[in-house]
C-alpha cells in the first residue's frame, strides 16, 4: 500500500514537471541578454522594460482580457439558460437532437467557425472589430458551458424540486434557491473554461478581427515570421505570475469564506 502511494506521488511530480518545465524555460529566457531562446549569455531586464513601454501591446492585452471576461460571463449566462432548457425538454428524442447539435459546435474546427463568422458578419454588415470578436467568442463558448452545466443538472435529484414545490416554492424560488445553488460549481467550471478558451483562441479571432482591434494570440502569431522577440517571453512571464496570483488569491478567499467554488465544498 505504502509503496503504491509513493509511486503515485512520483507520477504526479513527473506530470507537473512536464507541464511546468516549458513555462519555466520560457520565463528563464525572458532574462537573456543574448536575445534568442538558446545560448543564455547573461541576465538583463531589457525585455521587461521593452514590454512596459510597448503601449500597443498593452492595449492588445487589455482587449484580450476584456473580450475574455465579457464573452465568458455572457456565454455562461446563455449556456446555463440553454442547459436548463435542454434539461426541461420532455421528449428524449428532442433532447438527443439538441445535445448533438451542441456537440457538433464543440468539435467543429476553429478555422471553419472563424471563416463562417467572417462571411456572416460581412453579410449582415457588422464592422469587424470589438463587436465581431465578442460575438464570435460568445458563440463558441456557449456549447462548452452547456456541456459543463448539464451533468450537474442531471445528477440533481428531481425529488429536490418536488420537495421545494410541496413546501410552497414557486417557479422562481425553485430556480434561484434550489437549482442554481446546486449547479453553481458547474457554472463556475463553465465560466473558467470559457475564459481560457477565449484567452487563447487564435483561429476564430484571426478571421473576425479588424480595424485596429487585435488580440494577443493574433499579434504573437503574426510576429512569428520575423522571429518572436523575447519581449513576448517577458509578457508571458508577467501574465503567468498574474494568473498564479489570481489562483492563489481565489484559493485563500474560498478557503476563508467556505465559498462554493469550482469543486469546492459547502459548510
Amino acid at each position: 500500500m505504502q509503496s503504491s502511494h509513493k509511486w503515485g506521488k512520483a507520477y504526479l511530480a513527473v506530470v507537473f514537471v512536464i507541464l511546468y518545465l516549458p513555462i519555466g524555460y520560457l520565463i528563464y529566457y525572458s532574462f537573456n541578454k543574448g536575445g534568442t531562446m538558446h545560448d543564455f549569455s547573461g541576465v538583463t531586464l531589457d525585455w521587461y522594460k521593452e514590454v512596459l513601454h510597448d503601449t500597443r501591446l498593452w492595449i492588445i492585452v487589455l482587449n484580450t482580457i476584456t473580450i475574455a471576461l465579457l464573452s465568458a460571463a455572457i456565454s455562461t449566462i446563455l449556456g446555463v439558460i440553454g442547459a436548463l432548457a435542454i434539461y426541461y425538454v420532455k421528449s428524449q428524442q428532442v433532447k438527443q437532437i439538441l445535445l448533438t447539435l451542441n456537440n457538433v459546435l464543440i468539435v467543429s474546427p476553429d478555422v471553419i467557425i472563424g471563416a463562417s463568422f467572417l462571411i456572416l458578419f460581412t453579410m449582415i454588415g457588422i464592422q469587424l472589430g470589438f463587436t465581431s470578436v465578442l460575438l464570435s467568442h460568445i458563440a463558441f463558448s456557449v456549447p462548452i458551458v452547456v456541456l459543463m452545466v448539464l451533468p450537474k443538472l442531471q445528477e440533481m435529484s428531481p425529488t429536490l424540486i418536488d420537495a421545494a414545490r410541496d413546501l410552497g416554492a414557486n417557479q422562481w424560488d425553485v430556480l434561484t434557491k434550489v437549482i442554481l445553488p446546486y449547479i453553481t460549481p458547474g457554472i463556475f467550471a463553465g465560466f473558467f473554461m470559457a475564459l481560457t478558451y477565449s484567452l487563447d483562441d487564435f483561429a476564430v479571432t484571426f478571421f473576425v478581427t479588424g480595424n485596429d482591434f487585435s488580440t494577443l494570440s493574433v499579434e504573437i502569431y503574426s510576429r512569428a515570421r520575423q522571429g518572436i522577440s523575447l519581449s513576448i517571453n517577458a509578457l508571458s512571464a508577467l501574465l503567468f505570475i498574474l494568473t498564479l496570483a489570481l489562483v492563489t488569491g481565489y484559493y485563500f478567499i474560498s478557503r476563508r469564506s467556505g465559498m462554493l467554488g469550482v469543486g469546492g465544498r459547502r459548510r
Binding site: 492595449i59 487589455l62 465579457l70 465568458a72 453553481t184 480595424n211 503574426s222 522571429g227
Partner: protein, 357 residues
C-alpha cells in the same frame, strides 16, 4: 444565487474597467482620431521608429495591424469590413489581388521617391509598369548549409545537393513552386517552364534526391536549421538571414544555375479610406534614408538603390543577400502559370512527396 450575482456583476465591472483603460490608452496614443492610416503588414516587418517618424512628419496616426500569411491577408481584404490603407503582399499575391479587383491603382505623381528603386526591380511580370505595387523588400530562394556539419564542404549549386554523401541531411520547404523550381533550375530550365516533358524530367531528378531529403517542413525549418538538426535547407533568403543571425556557423548561397526572385510589395487595397495618406506612407518608405533604416532593422534586402549608400558596407557587399546579377544565371520571378498548370505542379510535387526511399 447571491454569490453568483455578485460574481457576475464583479466580472462585468472588471471588464468595463479594462475596456475603458484600453480606450483611454488608445485615445492618449491618438489611435481614435480621424486622421489615421491603417497599415496591414507581416508581423515585425518594419522598424517601429519609422512609424513614429512618419507620424511626426505628417501628423497622421498609424495603426499597424499584422497578418501571418498572404492567403489570410487576401481573405480578410476580399471580405471587406476592414479599413486597411496599405498592405504588403508577396508578388504572386499582388497578381492575384489585381485579378480579383482588390487593388487601387497608384498615383505615381504622388510617389516621387519611386525613382530611387533599382530599375531591375520595376516593371516585372506580376505588375507591369508598377501600376498597383511598389517593391518593399526582395530576396531569393537558395541553400542554407552548415559547413561544420559537412566537414568544411562548400555548396555552390543545386546539383551539389544530389551528392550521395548528403544522405538524410536536407530539409526542404513545403512549397510546390520552390521544390519543382529547384528541379527545373538544376536541369538549367526556367522555373516557369510549362513544357510537361521538362517538368517530368525535373520530377524524376527530384525522385533521385529523395534519399538525401530528411523532411519537407513548413515554418519550423528555421528553428530546425538553427538548432543543427540538419546540415542543409532550401529556404527563402529572408529566413536564411534569420537563421544565420541565430547561428552564425551557417552560410547561405544562391545556387549558380539560377533561382527564384521574390518580392514583398506595398499596395493600396480597395478597402482604403485614406488614399492620400497611403501614398504619403508609401513615398515615405521609399525615401532612401528610411529604406536603409528599415532594411537594417528587418535584415532583408532592400530594392532601393540609393538606400545602399546609407547602409554599412558589410551588409550591402554581402553577396549572399545582394547577389551579383551578372554571375548568377537566371534569377526569375514566379509567373502566374494559370490554374491548370499550377495544379500540374502541385500534382508533381505530391508525387515527389509520396516517393518512397
Amino acid at each position: 444565487m447571491k454569490k453568483l450575482a455578485i460574481f457576475f456583476i464583479a466580472v462585468f465591472c472588471a471588464a468595463l474597467v479594462f475596456y475603458y483603460t484600453a480606450f483611454a490608452l488608445n485615445r492618449t496614443e491618438g489611435y481614435a482620431g480621424k486622421n489615421t492610416l491603417t497599415v496591414y503588414n507581416w508581423g515585425d516587418y518594419i522598424d517601429p521608429a519609422l512609424i513614429k517618424k512618419f507620424e511626426k512628419q505628417t501628423g497622421i496616426k498609424v495603426i499597424y495591424q499584422t497578418f501571418d500569411s498572404n492567403e489570410a491577408m487576401m481573405a480578410k481584404i476580399a471580405q471587406g469590413g476592414t479599413t486597411f490603407d496599405v498592405a504588403v503582399p508577396s508578388e504572386y499575391a499582388v497578381s492575384k489581388m489585381k485579378e480579383d479587383g482588390l487593388l487601387i491603382p497608384l498615383d505615381h505623381a504622388k510617389l516621387p521617391n519611386l525613382k530611387y528603386i533599382n530599375p531591375r526591380f520595376l516593371n516585372l511580370s506580376f505588375d507591369p509598369g508598377n501600376r498597383y505595387s511598389v517593391p518593399y523588400f526582395w530576396g531569393t530562394v537558395g541553400i542554407v548549409y552548415n559547413p561544420s556539419m559537412l566537414g568544411g564542404k562548400k555548396i555552390t549549386s543545386w546539383n551539389d545537393l544530389w551528392d550521395p554523401d548528403l544522405r538524410n541531411q536536407i530539409l526542404l520547404v513545403d512549397g510546390a513552386r520552390e521544390v519543382i523550381g529547384m528541379g527545373l533550375n538544376s536541369l538549367h530550365y526556367s522555373l516557369n517552364d510549362t513544357n510537361k516533358q521538362h517538368l517530368r524530367q525535373a520530377k524524376e531528378k527530384l525522385d533521385r534526391l529523395v534519399p538525401n531529403v530528411k523532411a519537407i517542413v513548413g515554418d519550423e525549418i528555421k528553428m530546425l536549421l538553427a538548432n543543427e538538426e540538419a546540415a542543409i535547407g532550401v529556404v527563402w533568403s529572408g529566413d536564411a538571414a534569420e537563421i544565420i543571425s541565430e547561428n552564425d556557423k551557417l552560410d547561405y548561397v544562391v545556387p549558380k544555375e539560377g533561382s527564384n526572385l521574390w518580392f514583398d510589395n506595398m499596395v493600396i487595397p480597395k478597402t482604403a479610406k485614406n488614399i492620400e495618406g497611403a501614398h504619403k506612407f508609401i513615398n515615405f518608405m521609399l525615401d532612401p534614408k528610411n529604406a536603409a533604416q528599415n532594411a537594417e532593422y528587418v535584415g532583408y534586402s532592400t530594392p532601393n538603390e540609393k538606400a545602399l549608400d546609407y547602409m554599412p558596407k558589410e551588409i550591402t557587399e554581402d553577396k549572399r543577400f545582394y547577389p551579383d546579377f551578372d554571375s548568377i544565371g537566371n534569377l526569375e520571378v514566379y509567373k502566374n502559370l494559370g490554374k491548370r498548370m499550377l495544379a500540374y505542379y502541385n500534382e508533381l510535387f505530391l508525387e515527389f512527396k509520396m516517393h518512397r526511399k
